[in-house]
Symmetry: C3
Subunit: 395 residues, 3 copies
């Protein structure tokens, strides 16, 4: 799996357990072929008639790399794979694949509110790893909005709710990119504008949060809490729609309001700049295909970090090049590993596998061309795999 010429110390650093600094839960239940296809496709939709989501880079990688984990030959057919998956049962499949990811700690976004997804604690147990929770801000806000309170109490209750959830969490996470895009006014909205907007929101609390005033208010409330508790603030960036809309969890890709270009992390520059004096780390998740912009922000701002997210699992063997682009500018102390996956444990496994393969290729090239010493390369693999996350999340 790793280049044969790689020095032992580098190989060991790459194979050491990693911190998965951002993922969602995988499903605990068995699934039909159609259900599984929706989990592994990018949009959470069925494949068109006459086609299959196994005919994607991730689908081919599942047949190649996950099949042996289930005791099959590489390149098993989809039918054979799914029949073996059913035979083993979701519990055993999840256990094998999550352990196979070689992760020592999962930070899990628990805000999807889908009972069929494993909880953070269950992810840890099945994966033989520690587990911590990430609070999804928009889910907290939705719960507050639906609580039936007057507009004047909205801000206070939201602050309290965030504080309560943050008390047991390792990070806060925003999916503002899916709600109104990242091009919002970076300033903290006025009290009056928040009360007015809350009034409109509470008149229709089941609707999707999309008022930029309330999205900004939520972010600034989160900044206050993050600052008090020393927590990083994660932002989902980049193209999305990965995942499990088939079970009611939808990315913006199919059902959301925002379009791809509004997820470019460069749009966050003003907000990031406003946070610079506050000491709140900002972690840019995923970012593909705007990962170069993210790497640049991480290079320019001392408090910005990045990961390559679920693009690594979905692009499979093609993801090595994505990592290569990220590594053009990102400081070694600013990149982290995060699978960003949810729904299928296969994606968690493939993200870890392809992160190691892709990074190994870059490290091997840098060593071969004399650019980095083997000791440097080992240190870089360690920083990216777990060292940076342990420092930033104080694990």
């Amino acid at each position: 799996m790793l280049p044969a010429t790689l020095p032992d110390a580098v190989r060991a650093a790459l194979l050491a357990p990693m911190v998965d600094q951002h993922c969602c839960g995988v499903r605990r239940d068995d699934t039909t072929r159609s259900g599984f296809e929706q989990l592994i496709g990018e949009g959470g939709t069925p494949a068109p008639p006459g086609t299959t989501h196994f005919d994607t880079p991730a689908g081919a990688a599942i047949r190649r790399w996950c099949a042996p984990v289930l005791g099959l030959e590489p390149h098993a057919s989809p039918t054979v794979y799914l029949s073996r998956r059913a035979e083993l049962g979701a519990g055993e499949v999840n256990r094998r694949l999550l352990r196979g990811a070689g992760v020592s700690a999962f930070l899990v976004d628990s805000g999807l509110d889908v009972p069929a997804l494993l909880s953070p604690a269950e992810m840890g147990r099945l994966g033989s790893a520690a587990a911590d929770e990430i609070v999804r801000l928009e889910q907290a806000e939705q719960d507050v909005a639906e609580a039936g309170l007057p507009a004047a109490d909205y801000a206070g209750m939201l602050r309290d709710e965030l504080a309560v959830r943050a008390a047991r969490a390792a990070a806060l996470k925003s999916v503002a990119a899916h709600h109104c895009g990242l091009g919002f006014d970076p300033s903290r909205p006025s009290r009056g504008s928040v009360i007015a907007a809350a009034g409109r929101r509470l008149a229709d609390p089941k609707s999707r949060l999309d008022d930029p005033v309330l999205v900004r208010h939520l972010l600034w409330a989160a900044v206050d809490v993050a600052r008090e508790r020393g927590l990083p603030l994660q932002f989902h960036c980049g193209l999305s729609g990965w995942g499990v809309t088939g079970w009611g969890v939808s990315g913006w890709g199919v059902s959301g309001a925002a379009a791809g270009h509004l997820t470019d992390p460069a749009l966050l520059t003003g907000f990031v700049r406003a946070l610079a004096p506050l000491g709140v780390p900002v972690v840019l998740l995923n970012c593909y295909p705007y990962h170069r912009q993210a790497a640049h922000l991480a290079g320019v701002f001392p408090h910005v970090y990045v990961d390559a997210g679920p693009a690594v699992a979905h692009a499979a063997a093609g993801s090595g090049h994505v990592l290569r682009e990220l590594l053009e500018l990102v400081p070694f102390h600013k990149q982290m590993y995060g699978s960003g996956c949810h729904g299928a444990a296969e994606l968690c496994f493939l993200a870890a596998l392809n992160h190691r393969r892709g990074l190994a290729r870059v490290l091997a090239d840098r060593i071969d061309e004399g650019e980095w010493s083997p000791a440097d390369a080992a240190r870089i693999a360690h920083m990216i795999g777990s060292g940076n996350a342990r420092r930033v999340y104080r694990l």
Copy 2:
């Protein structure tokens, strides 16, 4: 031309005749050196004094790869190449190069209205291939606008005209990217707003269509026709200006109103989402350098397809990397081959050659690293080269 290690079945699949799912006609007449340079440059403009468009990736590739097709040594000088071209005559040159492209069917945008360009039937005849027509929506609209009718009849006549043209076509194609950019409001415009806009348009019918209301109306009228007839709707996306402005056919690059960033297919997300329930396939053409965004849309939406377009001919040997990026996310059943070329048969030949070379390199790598089986690789080459197009266009 193809990697020596490639298994026979993969090589055969790559070399099999392809469907060129989108091109324009090439010129039927002989040309001067200056005329030829304008055909092969990206902007359809002459090279600056003291320089030549042969000093481009495509120009060097013509000397390397097209020269032998005309019976010359590789790397022939521009003067030798053009003198041999004149000696053989445009008819024989077109015949050799179009046949050399190894295409079994050309889908030809016939809407450029330049008599010197070969018709779809002529493209097929010279290239020993089947040929079908693609209706360019904006040309149909222009003809309607210039017919001298009252504004109240505009919508009806446009619908009728599109229906007539669609009856003999394999696809409809929009170049809205060149007229107002792709960031338009995705909703169908109101009847009243269309009549008002048509009134303004018909007061100056020779002008270029750029009113977003009419561009949207045209698109929705096309969607209705496409739905009735089961035709795909193609969108030109990405940077353009390739081609033949020298003969009065202009891309946006030099003479158009829109700027490059407005051709990002991610801007089409809302429109694509609106079409999802209607069963009209959407084909994103070209897309460079936003091809990753296009691949993502093809992954997320069941009805979206992509090709890599004329960037493959123009980037020549450098295009392998563009295909590699496209293949990071695109489902194998969603990518098609389209040369997107017009004017010079050389570009048609180079697109096919470089598509095969670039894809061969990716397939060879995936086989070498154990990611895809040779059988998978052969199947993928077949799907991209012709299988997907035959299914989508019902050829």
Copy 3:
């Protein structure tokens, strides 16, 4: 350093002295570790506690490639490197690194107004090269704004000031990307709107120029001067923030108003189009990660040129891929070498080194795959390294 298989003529062309068509001065004085770290980081800010800017691609490259220039072993530790740097003194270090860049002429933006930076003449003297000056438009405007004149005289004095500065310069340069972004209205602003805007500006002359009317006025005034004197107009494009904010020179990254996506050169399409008939060459500097857009503009418009800028130094070994992408579309007669560096002579050295390494790799690949003849490859290296710049700047 260069591939062993490279033909001698290509190697010689690559190693020949280059024209650095755009850089800023490097610091003349010795520096502390913290000061040096701020010079080599992207944002001009200190590294976060517990980290170091030596843990970046550029930092690792300094230890690898600059250490031997100072007489140290490759991969020297940061402490050893900085101690040797102090021992030699800034003058000797600058002399060794600037000479080591292998440059025959530096075009130096003298508009940073920081006395600690070497002047163009000093850059030339230390680097054994010719040197010419580039006039930074916004600095000239700032000086005019601060001169305490009435608004009615603003335009005239600005025109005179630009003419005086242009008389001794090789080019004019705009950093409009940092002041209001590149999405400005391309038309020349009306006289009335300029006088009104000048009135507001002169009421607070120490403020940063950010009124788009005045930015446009400045650009059109520069176009007039450039046209009279036959000078190119350079535009800083792409992500920035490289550099020396620690000494009061700030990019937009940390302190500016604009965000990254507003530096995409595609936004300049309208302005570039307006300049097409005027005969003023437009040079797009840096551009990363929008260099493909820049290459396309250079391919479409006869008067547009590009360089890859400081991304080559900062991405170090990773920059080969950036050059590869630029070379996908850029005509060989349109690309130039420009280090874009300032502050640390190390960056000047690394830009030249990595330009040669990266280009060598592409040339070697093209020769190996039979795409370019060795004679073509040598000619291309010469054009990019110095030939194009000598023609455009009439050196």
